[in-house]
Amino acid sequence: MSDKKLAIIATKGTLDWAYPPLILGSTAAALGYEVEIFFTFYGLQILKKDLDLKITSLGNPAMPMPAPVPVLLQALPGMEAAMTSMMKAKMQKKGVASIEELRELCIEAEVKMIACQMTVDLFDFKHSELLDTVEYGGAATFFEFAGESDINLYM
């Protein structure tokens, strides 16, 4: 049971897309998997000490809305912040864990989190901005673990 391994590549950094890698990572760890998540490009946002993840229906026509909002209005200042707080309130009401909580559960469960050093450089992020538990590496680092994993997921 304990030899199973799961490797995930997390590339997205919106509030909604921060969930899949953390939910699957923490659950797999609870099931006895050894888990490693490689965060690259926008996925690095999930590793920030000060999380500021957002969501918007702009460019995401599948997002359910309480009432239809014309696209041009969705682009108005303040809309993104309003949609983000509405989504967070809805999640809390439905008993969905916060990203902070899921991330903490991953750390507790010893899910290994690797930040892609190339994209850290690209976006001028400092190591001090990201969680202290994060390790840094590149594509070869990912394959070292992924090559012996039972499941590999790209998100």
């Binding site: 049971m1 939910i23 923490s26 659950t27 609870a30 439905k94 008993g95 969905v96 864990a97 559960l105």
Partner: protein
């Protein structure tokens, strides 16, 4: 209902929190001891079956009563 050694109320919590909390609660038990879990997430029924199969902790009972779900898991 069978006896249990510890109880976890996961009411109001959604996936994957009931499983993660149960995992933590089981870690505090000895092998052979039983955890009673209360949940309101309908997804928990299949999830606890799957959790049980994959972790070697026996799902002794799974029942629904008045919109709530009750599970008994014996630590393997």
């Amino acid at each position: 209902m069978a006896d249990f050694d510890s109880e976890l109320d996961a009411s109001g919590l959604n996936c994957p929190l009931p499983i993660l909390r149960a995992k933590k609660a089981l870690a505090a038990l000895e092998s052979g001891q039983v955890l009673h879990i209360i949940a309101t997430d309908p997804g928990a029924i299949k999830d606890f079956e799957a959790f049980s199969k994959q972790t070697g902790n026996e799902l002794m009972e799974s029942r629904e009563d008045g919109g709530k779900f009750y599970f008994l898991i014996k630590k393997g």
